[in-house]
């Protein structure tokens, strides 16, 4: 079976200005959303706070739970239904407590008063102090920066510096868009999301490298089509692979998204956005950027001596 005909020849490179404009537009919308909402919506891992997941033996509503907690002084409380059945809820507090009893006991007490003893199961408690939250935030940012530096070095070694720049810009593009989408959908950024971002970086790069590899290979051959022609041909030649791999990866991420359960849900969402954007960027952003780079460098049709390291 074949999805993409082998002699396919879409003029991707010719539409690079449209593509870049579209990307910029989406990025700007995302950044606007981030600005309006005053930065990313950090989960308790990064902002500090307390999260308690409870399961109540009878169906109830988040409003009722909020009502039950109204009597105790907890500061800002957000109650959210978790999963499909109205028995499991997430209770988020901005406050933290270094004390031993902790806030989860206070919550448990207040809920049992309303729903009766032994009807409330505290399934998960997470408390992150403000200092730890700040440390984790810094570490998360550094992880992404280090990953980018490592990749920059590797791609420069294996290809050329301009390829590395193209790859990194494509990655920044992917992460910015995913971040923007998270902000637009009001999704929280916590530790697993940083893991998802790094996975997106790895994945998107994987895609980009495969196109770059083909460009490197095709440049070695005799051809009259010029640099942009080579790039376009390389994208087309790898298109079948790009679509198929993205397809299989999306299949499993969809499985995670639908069946993985609450904790994995946001993680899978980030991957879903990231893989779609990453696939788009390796076709429309990473490679065409090489042409912009060459044009800025004086418009010479770059058929630079190939750097063979393989």
């Amino acid at each position: 079976m074949q999805l993409i005909r082998s002699d396919i020849n879409i003029n991707f490179v010719g539409r690079r200005k449209v593509a870049i404009s579209l990307s910029l537009l989406v990025i700007i919308i995302g950044i606007l959303s981030l600005l309006i909402k005053g930065g990313p919506n950090y989960g308790i891992d990064f902002s500090g706070g307390t999260l308690v997941q409870v399961k109540i033996s009878q169906p109830t509503s988040s409003g009722d739970i909020k009502g039950a907690l109204a009597g105790v002084d907890l500061g800002g409380v957000v109650v959210q239904q978790f999963g499909d059945d109205a028995q499991e809820f997430l209770i988020r507090l901005q406050g933290t407590s270094g004390e031993l009893g902790g806030l989860s006991q206070v919550i448990l007490g207040a809920l049992e008063k309303k729903y009766g003893p032994d009807t409330v199961d505290v399934r998960r408690t997470e408390m992150v102090g403000p200092q730890v939250g700040k440390d984790l935030r810094e570490k998360g940012l550094m992880a992404i920066v280090y990953a980018m530096i490592g990749i920059l070095a590797y791609v420069t070694w294996r290809f050329e510096f301009k390829f590395a720049i193209g790859a990194i810009l494509a990655l920044v593009h992917d992460v910015l868009i995913t971040l923007g989408v998270f902000s637009i959908f009001n999704k929280e950024i916590d530790l697993p999301i940083i893991a998802a971002f790094l996975a997106i970086i790895g994945y998107s790069l994987n895609d980009t490298i495969i196109v770059y590899d083909r460009i490197r290979e095709n440049r070695g051959k005799e051809s009259k089509e010029g640099f942009s022609g080579i790039i376009n041909r390389s994208i087309n030649e790898t298109l079948s692979r790009t679509i198929l791999t993205s397809g299989t990866t999306l299949l499993v991420i969809l499985a995670l998204f639908v069946f993985g359960g609450g904790v994995i849900h946001n993680f899978a969402f980030a991957l879903l956005i990231g893989v779609i954007v990453g696939t788009y960027s390796s076709i429309f952003v990473a490679s065409p950027l090489l042409i912009f780079w060459d044009e800025r460098k004086g418009g010479k049709p770059a058929v630079v001596a190939e750097k063979r390291s393989s």
Partner: protein
């Protein structure tokens, strides 16, 4: 079959054999011989999957410095009295300074000499006159302060380890993180609240004499005589389920501390059927206790744990046996926990909970079930897609995929790595990405076939051309995974682990294993066509 194919086949079978042998104990431990079970642990599940507590405690090291200075103040006063040096007072000031106030220069020199001789870690500071007195200032050197802090954290770690051992948790993790942070992981704890209370308690046991002539009512208003302090006695009425706090004024000098304990046990008071904790002092403690009780017959002595008075019994007679009891309307569990912390020793400084992640066992079970469902469904979809798209060759890729999954799990077992929820997500993601290598190879083979090459040559060229690409693409993903491993904690690290293992295993299965199968098929059937 050619020799090369045979050798490669054997190697793959060998790997598969080892993988299966190491995995069997993870799925059923019943009826396996002892050597088998002991050689390979089951897959180690992270706290988020099996339930448990992840705690980061911050040791308040400043408090340890303060209490060291307080004890130096005490010792200095005793020494000054012993040597008959006339002094006005000895104080701890602004956190890290000790001030000895004397009346004349002569006494000042004597104090200097004494301090120099007794406390080598103290540095003398500037002299400041104050209305006819001479104030001799001393402070701890920065190095000594750093030592005290470091020791406090090390000792806290030791004490916490003792408590965890007494509490009985299998495979606990206790680590010093940075400076004054201690990481504790307790898998599978059923009553997290109790465990946290047990770990976080400072458990500083002190005995102080009650200031009988002081008026607690006045003290509550803030009128305290010098040398005394206000504490509260907690009285629990277990039948009514209420507890009241009664103010009590005690002398702030500690006559005896829990450091001198040799044992603590729970006993039941037969009269009221109430549990209490019986403590035994060591030889030194027993001697001191003997002296104190002999000198204070008829007076009340307060038994204080973490600044709360548990009881303040009247000393009826001299007690020389070296044992005492702490009662305070405990439940049996409270008494047991108190005995545990007393036996394990007190923390050198209070601790604060900086991070607490507790997962109940029921949630962990749900997560595993859901994780397995996603792996199965995701895997099934990918297998189906590959079969439809590449037919025979797709089947070969699917065999490689199955092997890949087996190898990932086996490597997790062999390296005793921890499987977490994001780790399962990593496996699912690997399933999607593992077929990528085969897609790359197959697309190359198709290209070569279109150019009119024979199946054998197309396979040859396809593999060799795709190889470089696969390496480049996977190394970059590995870089991201390794960074994640460095940075990550707990569950996130698990993601990095399975992703890295998955990438490495997939290179073996998707390149080496599928190639062997292709060679085998092409060798047997001298066909020109290839189902791809």
């Amino acid at each position: 079959m050619s020799k090369s194919v045979k050798l490669r086949g054997l190697l793959i079978l060998l790997c598969l054999g080892i993988a299966l042998v190491s995995l069997v104990p993870s799925f059923s431990r019943e009826g396996l011989p002892e050597w088998w079970r002991s050689a390979f642990d089951p897959i180690h599940l992270g706290l988020d999957l099996q339930g448990g507590i992840h705690l980061v405690l911050g040791v308040e090291v400043e408090e340890a410095v303060k209490s060291r200075l307080d004890s130096i103040v005490d010792q200095t006063e005793n020494l000054l009295r012993e040597k008959d040096i006339v002094y006005k007072r000895v104080d701890r000031e602004s956190g890290d300074r000790i001030v000895v106030t004397v009346y004349d220069a002569d006494a000042g020199h004597q104090v200097d000499a004494l301090m120099e001789e007794q406390f080598r870690t103290l540095e003398p500071m500037t002299l400041a006159g104050e209305g006819g007195y001479i104030r001799k200032n001393y402070r701890l050197s920065d190095k000594e302060i750093a030592n005290i802090k470091d020791y406090a954290v090390r000792q806290a770690l030791e004490t916490l380890r003792n408590r965890v051992d007494e509490f009985g948790v299998s495979e606990p993790v206790l680590q010093r993180q940075s400076d004054n942070r201690i990481l504790i992981q307790l898998p599978g704890v059923k009553d997290p609240q109790r465990a946290i209370a047990l770990l976080g308690k400072t458990a500083r046991l002190e005995f102080k004499m009650v200031a009988e002539d002081a008026n607690p009512g006045e003290a509550v208003k803030g009128n305290l005589q010098p040398g005394t302090e206000l504490l509260y006695e907690k009285r629990v009425d277990r039948r009514a389920g209420t507890s009241t706090e009664i103010p009590l004024v005690v002398f702030d000098k500690t006559v005896l501390t829990g450091d001198l304990l040799s044992d603590a046990q729970v006993r039941i008071d037969t009269r009221f059927n109430e549990p209490y904790v019986a403590i035994d002092f060591n030889a030194l403690g027993a001697k001191r206790f003997d002296q104190i009780t002999a000198a204070n017959v008829g007076k009340r002595m307060a038994i204080i744990l973490d600044d709360t008075v548990y009881s303040a019994p009247v000393i009826r007679e001299r007690i020389s046996g070296g044992s005492a009891q702490i009662s305070g309307g405990f439940t049996e569990q409270q008494a047991t926990d108190l005995a545990i912390v007393l036996r394990a020793g007190s923390l050198p400084a209070p601790v604060k909970i900086l991070e607490n992640r507790t997962v109940g066992p029921s949630l962990g079970k749900d997560s595993i079930d859901r994780g397995i469902i996603s792996v199965i469904i995701g895997g099934f979809l990918v297998v189906l897609a590959m079969l439809i798209y590449y037919r025979m060759s797709g089947l070969i890729a699917n065999v490689a995929l199955a092997l890949n999954l087996i190898f990932i799990l086996a490597i997790l077992t062999l390296f005793k790595a921890t499987l977490t929820l994001p780790g399962i997500a990593g496996i699912v993601l690997t399933v999607g990405m593992a077929v990528d290598a085969n897609v790359l190879i197959f697309e190359r083979i198709r290209e070569e076939l279109r150019l009119g090459k024979t199946a054998k040559i197309a396979v040859e060229v396809g593999y060799s051309k795709a190889f470089v690409t696969i390496i480049d693409a996977n190394v970059t993903t590995l870089i991201a995974a390794l960074v994640l491993f460095q940075f990550g904690t707990g569950p996130v690290k698990g993601f990095a682990v399975t992703l890295s293992i998955g990438i490495l295993a997939s290179m073996f299965t998707a390149i080496f294993v599928t190639r062997m199968i292709f060679d085998l098929i092409l060798e047997r059937r001298q066909t020109k066509g290839l189902s791809i």
